[in-house]
């Protein structure tokens, strides 16, 4: 049995399969990923086995890079300015999400948590990645 080839289509529109695939890729990226606020430096949170609370919230985020740089939202700030800003803006009743790189110094972070609490920020959440670290 001989199958008929859709030769006319291919001759006229060689770009059609390309568009189809690009469309599929576009839809995949739109659905599978999370469109997120991007910090001024790359941050990769540590893994944690246990399930945590929902991490994709509108809470204010404090980013800490592996080198110890700080950013509040998408604005990079020195450490003292971060604490000053948090004290001044009174975000205290809302939780603050700390997004720290897994290579960040742990002692610095634990000290930072104490300073944040002293600055009136009582609800702190640490962002982790799903799955074992």
């Amino acid at each position: 049995m001989k199958l008929r080839r859709p030769s006319r289509f291919q001759e006229n529109e060689p770009a059609l399969p390309l568009i189809n695939i690009v469309f599929l890729l576009l839809i995949f990226f739109m659905i599978a990923g999370v469109l997120a606020e991007s910090p001024p430096f790359p941050v990769s949170p540590p893994g944690f086995e246990e399930k945590g609370a929902e991490g994709e919230t509108k809470n204010l985020r404090l980013y800490v890079s592996a080198e110890g740089a700080f950013a509040l939202g998408s604005e990079e700030l020195p450490r003292a300015a971060v604490l000053e800003r948090l004290e001044a803006t009174e975000v205290a009743p809302a939780p603050l999400d700390i997004v720290a790189d897994k290579e960040a110094d742990a002692a610095v972070l634990v000290t930072l948590m104490r300073e944040l609490r002293e600055a009136g920020q009582h609800e702190l959440r640490l962002i982790v990645q799903e799955g074992a670290g």
Binding site: F48, E50, V99
Partner: protein, 146 residues
């Protein structure tokens, strides 16, 4: 409209096939740009939040003596000056479990990364129901994983 009428009067105004091809190209361009935007702007990691708020100020202090654990880089744990690996640490926590749950204080030593601290927290959570707190080198409790 007949073909002859079209050729005599309207041919100049109809770019016909060429125009259709341009429309398709710009569509592909826009889709490509959207694709690149989504590829760069999306993140595939699933982020979750752990509550690390400090314990309530009025909370009753635990009756049992806290187990103070120093966390060294690379998965080494120090209890009362003795260095333990992760298995020994886990076993030690389970043996503590039998004579009452003592709270565990995790203190990162110099050079410990956040990943080391979270690894320690994972072991403590896996070993039993101990209360877990993070302690900074000044010895102040800073809340743990709830």
């Amino acid at each position: 409209m007949t073909a002859s009428a079209a050729s005599s009067r309207l041919q100049i105004k109809r770019p016909g096939r060429a125009r259709a091809r341009i429309g398709l190209t710009s569509l592909i361009d826009v889709i490509f740009i959207l694709l690149i935007f989504f590829m760069l702007a999306t993140r595939f990691e699933v982020w979750q939040a752990l509550d690390v708020s400090a314990g309530k100020a009025g909370a009753a202090p635990s009756e049992t003596r806290p187990l103070h654990v120093k966390i060294h880089p690379g998965g080494a744990f120090e209890i009362d000056g003795a260095r333990l690996d992760s298995d020994a640490f886990s076993a030690r926590l389970k043996s503590e479990d039998e004579d009452g749950l003592s709270p565990v204080f995790l203190e990162p030593a110099g050079g410990a990364r956040l990943a080391d601290l979270m690894y320690g927290a994972e072991i403590v959570r896996g070993a039993g129901g101990q209360t877990l707190s993070f302690v900074d080198p000044q010895g102040q409790e800073n809340g743990g994983v709830k």
